[in-house]
Symmetry: C2
Subunit: 363 residues, 2 copies
């Protein structure tokens, strides 16, 4: 079957680009001497996770207990919940069950959260990593507070294995290099704090897709040990607009049909319910058209994307075009399946369909 | 079971608020003498659709053939696809099947689209409505071009029943009253164009949640006959910030847990994969907290909402809070089920769970 036989919109993955992204991601981590623990929230796919493991991933990163349950059920047994999970109610029981089943690490960023987690685990074998705020100002403690929190977590009965951070402030034009340095410095300072509290900070985990290719030249005692990129498995328009990748590294796109055309503009049938509505303040639109690099998605409704083509030709109604989402993690989570092709764009032969196994696993 | 027993995040619908919204929506349409054909893309729920019909809806509006198939399979037999559907490939066969099963109306906004639709239907009994651009500049033709397009559609073999518009430019502060007038004027002018082409414009269909309560004082020959609000069944933060409703009309919210707190701020476990990432330029944040009206959701990641509480008290980690999404249609489409309570906020007894039957029905 060719993709032409599928009704639009749908998400298509070029497995050849994916394989190159996987090989390059693994190699980037290897060159820096880092364990590679990609974030599975991007693809939510058991098939893609297995490919990551085949390329040398040491395990997966997840954001929710529900995601971890999906991958654990598939037999993937080394999981890090990079989130300050609040381990109450049913979630406490689910965490304890998970800890009995896989090698599990869990984030903590408060003494109250650590107490709650210890009560939930009841001695089940999980490790915790202290979350550090390296400048993104979302969750995590200041690097200088990591030692104290680690000691509190240990006192609560938890096994503290190290520290982690997400340098999300890399998502700004021109910020990547400086943020990569922030990240390493924050992890290093936090790790030193743990060591001073008598806790060996074996794991120093960082990483993001914009910073993963950057190796800051910083002192080494407590250098990072692990990287957790998510988006780069597929790439997306944000990464292109941050100059982290080119369109040739975008493995996933939405295939859409032009339903309306007027001078300079077309409207596509892929809207926010296909692409996601993510739009950073610095983004040039709501996604990009790799075959029309000058085009901009200037407006997005649920089932309409309005594309401005400038002086270029406007595709006719009924034409199919590809749109690379701004944020691929959001687009994937809206789909039940990914359509898989090899070596090309829309119009190719469908070689597989991969379910989005952890779609909607938010709890 | 109480909602406290459910792991967060989840979407909760207060059935009492919903019932009031339904009764008021039906009454607003009745007062204006309009057929009430709510847009089911908001709720995607067979249960909610049946309640709308019980309150007097003449049928449903849908955006995609896939949505229409879900409601048709549930026995709902009067459907309007308010979209310039491109009727090619598998979609052509699906449209024809649908036309043989339910009373079906379909949007057209180009002669090419009308030709394609006529070829797809092969005489199957559907009506078409010509889409008019009343100022939103998304799809649709200028009112003055409606007569010509209607004649072309008729020449292609289609039965033209009238005109429709979506006045999406009402989604701007202070715009509602003027846009409601635009809408009526555009429908009226377009209908006159059809009449001049010898086509009776029986159906003049408009409506949006921001404008549905406004009845412009405009001349009557070709006044609207039908209204198609979507969002107002549940309400959302956009409607509140447009002054279309108060929080007391918000029937749906996400229940989230505070996972992190620091002075002035808390981080919740409901992010863009629960709330959707929609944010109009004029929105004050990424959703609103009805129990903390001064709070603002200043940042959103996939599983983090960062809330600024100003000088107010910050809820402690482990607390539950409710967040009304900016755009409820996007939030609902991210959930598999809606948790139903009656007469209250989080903490109430769960009386039902309604599947989001048409979730992801994008094609």
């Amino acid at each position: 079957m060719h993709t032409e036989a599928l009704d639009t919109p749908f998400l298509v993955v070029d497995a050849c680009v994916l394989e190159r992204n996987l090989a390059e991601g693994a190699e980037r981590a290897r060159r820096r001497g880092l364990a590679w623990r990609p974030h599975a929230k991007t693809h939510k796919s058991i098939t893609v996770a297995r490919r990551q493991l085949a390329h040398g991933a040491t395990g997966l990163t997840l954001a929710t207990v529900g995601e971890a349950e999906v991958f654990a059920a598939a037999g993937i047994d080394d999981l890090f919940l990079a989130y300050p999970v609040w381990a109450a109610g049913g979630r406490a029981d689910r965490l304890r069950a998970l800890a009995g089943r896989v090698r599990l690490r869990i984030g903590v960023d408060s003494a109250a959260g650590a107490d709650r987690l210890a009560a939930a685990l009841r001695g089940a074998p999980a490790q915790v990593l202290v979350e550090i705020d390296s400048g993104h100002h979302r969750t995590g403690v200041a690097p200088g507070d990591a030692g104290g929190l680690a000691a509190a977590a240990r006192a609560a009965g938890l096994e503290v294995a190290g520290v982690f951070t997400f340098p999300g402030h890399a998502y700004a034009p021109g910020a990547r290099t400086a943020v990569a340095a922030d990240e390493v410095a924050a992890l290093s300072a936090a790790a030193a704090g743990l060591a001073a509290a008598g806790i060996e900070p074996r794991v120093r985990s960082g990483g993001s897709s914009p910073t993963e290719g950057i190796a800051p030249d910083l002192p080494g005692r407590w250098a990072p040990t692990e990287t957790r990129p998510g988006v780069s498995v597929f790439g997306d328009a944000q990464q292109v607009e941050l100059d982290a990748i080119g369109f040739d590294r975008c493995a996933l796109s939405a295939v859409a049909t032009v339903v309306h055309a007027r001078p300079g503009h077309a409207v596509l049938d892929a809207g926010s319910k296909t692409l996601g509505a993510d739009r950073a303040p610095w983004a040039t639109g709501y996604g990009r058209l790799p075959d029309h690099p000058e085009a901009r998605v200037i407006a997005l409704s649920e089932h309409h994307a309005t594309v401005a083509f400038g002086d270029g030709p406007v595709p006719e109604p009924g034409s199919r075009v590809r749109v690379v989402p701004n944020h691929v993690c959001s687009a994937v989570n809206l789909a039940d399946h990914l359509v898989v092709v090899e070596g090309g764009a829309a119009g190719d032969t469908v070689v597989d369909r991969w379910p989005v196994d952890a779609r909607g696993a938010n709890t």
